[in-house]
Amino acid sequence: MRITRPLLGLTGLALVSPLLAACGGDADLVIYSGRNEELVGGIIEEFEEQEGIEVEVRYGDTAELAAQVAEEGDSSPADVFFSQDAGALGLLSEEGLLTDLSEDDLGRVPEVYASTEGDWVGVTGRVRVIAYDPDQVEESELPDDVAAFTEPEWRGRVAIAPTNASFQTFITAMRVNDGEEAARAFLEGLIANDVEIYEHNLAILDALEAGEVEVGLINHYYLHEKKIELGEENVRTQLKFLPPGTAGALVNVAGVGVLEGGSDNEHADAFVEYLLSDETQAEFVEVTGEYPLVDGVEPPADVPPLEELGGGTGIDLGELSSLDETVDLLTEVGLI
């Protein structure tokens, strides 16, 4: 019977807890952020102070939040979707959930980094790279095209994260660029070559640091995060940027779109404008190690300039919303 008292306490708590949680809902702007709080939380807080308004943010996984918005439809409480990936924005655009942005906002970044429909805009650039452990692999050994990783000499040495959005966008680019069959041959070749499967890019980076694998296909800025976490001198992983022309050199973006709920909310427009301002762009470079997309903002010091990467493949990022076909392909070959 001693336990009855905790039970009473529990019931009491249960009655009070909805009150504790009921404080939300009266915000001036609601953002769904597929970008991590650790990375963009400070930037959003500064916006809040600058505008003198109250902003509520729901942080989550980009794809899961996009699924949630799709499920919510017109009833979504969100005004703005801040995405880690162009693909998710493309999907929301296709479902008709995004509203048009102003010409001013769209004009801030090169055309290739914004929606052709005019309903989302890239904020920062992230580049596909080959990350490698210099203790096990010489840079000169690395190929200029990721397709080479299906060769027998790379058996069991390469890591990928097939469930990660940026990997899928990269495969989409390959499908669009080189055709369905080339993409299929690449994936099947990787599987036949004992490719190591990881949950996400960071897990690949951890595995590289631990010497578990030799090479990993990731985005460039993860190394920046790793250096911040461990100290630059304690990180041994190196990056190889690929020459333009193949999907392996894809330049993807993190971007933003305004949802139906934010269409008549002036703060939503202000937020998009704020993300594309010179000051915020510079802050992204510093905090996340990504490429600024707005002209005249200094890129990170330790990476080749974006122009040299030539926009990767020249692929329209809007076309990268054909994720469905990529998913079918990944499903068919058995990677997901």
């Binding site: 807890s17 504790l20 794809a63 799709a70 959005a165 499967i197 976490e229 997901i336």
Partner: protein, 515 residues
């Protein structure tokens, strides 16, 4: 409920059946959502998804995992339970608490910790190891409860007939603990079937992996829905299998017949071995994560703790999980009473149905409730009520089991005596049955609360906007590799969950921990 304590045990009162049915139906809502999604797609789209090799491969992986974890939990749980109840151990209270504490350890933290020290542990065996370690208490606690009350007269008789002490114990005690042990193993099996965190980190591809990623990519809700339905069917098969086994075991040996508690026995030279075994399990479940978190904090530069944030997240964790526990027990009461008091197909079916939600991954339950609340009860969307409902759907079996065992422990004679003394049936229920069953029911509530604290995917999706729990903060910090900043949240999560785990380890409440 007027005939609750009456004499026709096989004909449950209609009102009770109706209420229990309603509660089970509420818990089956996500299944309805999955059915709607699948039906919208049509059979021609669903067929190839269902019949592809990948489905079979993931299904077999999941079933193998589920079976191994159930078996492993029995292998660790039963001897542990025997040691902490029947053997004379130094620091007996300490070992009793340590045997329950793994319940407070989220599977993803345990997996992460093991990988820190043994990077090569990936795959099937690593996943089995981690899931077995964290779910063994599901067996330990109810078995310990039975052993504490087990009838030792038979054991003494067996000894006088010439059996050695070990053989006598195994021969006479095992039949008595089997129903509780298999019921505990069922919870472990269902946990293994529905867990995503540990298999994901261990890179072992199971069904939940397939479902999670079907959503993640291009939000393919049809593929995910089809796979989730298959997973639910697998869970149902596991539940029915356990029921079959339990039925047989219950017929063979009476559980907890209420003999005089036997005095703990001296182990003699076996004591060091026993202590070593208990010690190894404790180090594996609790020591390894503690060490891993310490190492990570030391290596990392991001070790600053924002105490306000930490405190706020801890308070929200407790509040939300308590709300979830309260709602879960509320839904479990009619089902548990029905299952505990009445046999027959109706009671059995309703109880089995209440287990369905347990196998569906949190992300599916989350999306189902997004869909259902937005469309049916928009006022509840993104409130703690919707999240509590998600917890109720997922963790109902834990509470149903606890209520059922609690009710079964109330001797009918006592109820009948109260009736004879002139009390009405409802008063008898409130003053006699509920009081005697309450420790078991409370234990069920604690177990739900404890599990809800560790839940992540549904919490991420349904928590009120701006609200962070220890689990969501842990997720967001470790997702960008800020392991140092994540460590305090992992430690706090385990500490906060340790309190209900401790309460569950106390004699008298442990029996409700499973059943």
């Amino acid at each position: 409920m007027s005939t609750l304590a009456a004499h026709r045990p096989d004909r449950p009162p209609r009102l009770l059946v109706a209420v229990a049915l309603l509660c089970a139906a509420a818990a089956a809502c996500p299944i309805a959502y999955l059915a709607i999604r699948t039906a919208q797609a049509g059979w021609s789209d669903v067929r190839p998804l269902l019949l592809r090799d990948r489905t079979l491969e993931l299904g077999l992986n999941s079933l193998a995992l589920c079976g191994s974890v159930a078996l492993g939990s029995l292998v660790i749980g039963i001897p542990t339970a025997w040691l902490v109840t029947r053997a004379r151990l130094p620091w007996a209270g300490f070992w009793r608490v340590v045997a329950a504490l793994p319940l407070a350890m989220p599977s993803y933290v345990a997996a992460y910790a093991w990988l820190t020290f043994v990077p090569g542990l990936h795959g099937y065996w690593g996943t089995v190891l981690v899931l077995t370690l964290v779910s063994a208490p599901y067996v330990t606690l109810p078995v310990a409860a039975v052993l504490r009350r087990a009838d030792t007269d038979v054991e003494d008789v067996a000894r006088t007939l010439g059996m050695g002490p070990t053989r006598a114990a195994v021969a006479t005690l095992l039949p008595q603990v089997l129903p509780a042990a298999t019921a505990g193993a069922l919870l472990a099996a269902l946990y293994a079937l529905s867990d995503f965190g540990a298999p994901a980190l261990m890179r072992h591809q199971v069904f939940t992996y397939g479902i999670q990623h079907a959503y993640k990519i291009g939000f393919d809700r049809t593929l995910a829905a089809v796979m989730a339905l298959v997973l639910a069917a697998m869970a149902l098969a596991v539940v029915l299998g356990e029921r079959l086994f339990r039925g047989r075991a219950e017929r063979r040996g009476a559980s907890g017949s209420g003999g005089v508690p036997a005095p703990p026995r001296s182990l003699g030279r076996g004591l060091p071995v026993a202590l070593a075994l208990l010690g190894i399990v404790a180090v594996a479940t609790l020591g390894v994560p503690a060490a891993a978190l310490a190492v990570q904090s030391a290596e990392s530069l991001s070790t600053g703790v924002v105490w306000d944030e930490l405190g706020g997240a801890a308070a929200q964790t407790v509040a939300l999980s308590a709300a979830g526990a309260a709602l879960t027990v509320l839904l479990a009461l009619p089902i548990g009473i029905l299952a505990g008091r009445f046999r027959g197909r109706v009671a059995a079916s309703i109880e089995s149905a209440s287990y369905l939600g347990n196998a569906i991954p949190g992300i599916v339950v989350g999306l189902a409730l997004v869909f259902l609340t937005i469309n049916l009860l928009p006022g509840l969307y993104q409130t703690s009520v919707a999240l509590a409902a998600a917890y109720a759907v997922m963790f109902l079996p834990k509470a149903v089991g606890a209520v059922r065992t609690g009710v079964q422990q109330v001797p009918r004679d006592v109820e009948e005596a109260a009736r004879v003394l002139g009390r009405g049936p409802v008063r008898v229920w409130a003053t006699v049955t509920a009081r005697i069953a309450s420790p078991g029911i409370a234990a069920g509530a604690l177990l739900v609360m404890l599990t809800a604290m560790k839940e992540l995917p549904a919490t991420l999706m349904l928590r009120p906007i701006g609200v962070e729990t220890l689990a969501t903060e842990l997720w967001s910090k470790s997702a960008v590799g800020s392991y140092g900043a994540a460590a305090p949240y992992a430690v706090s999560l385990v500490l906060v969950a340790a309190l209900p785990a401790y309460l569950l380890s106390r004699p008298g409440t442990e029996r409700g921990a499973a059943s």
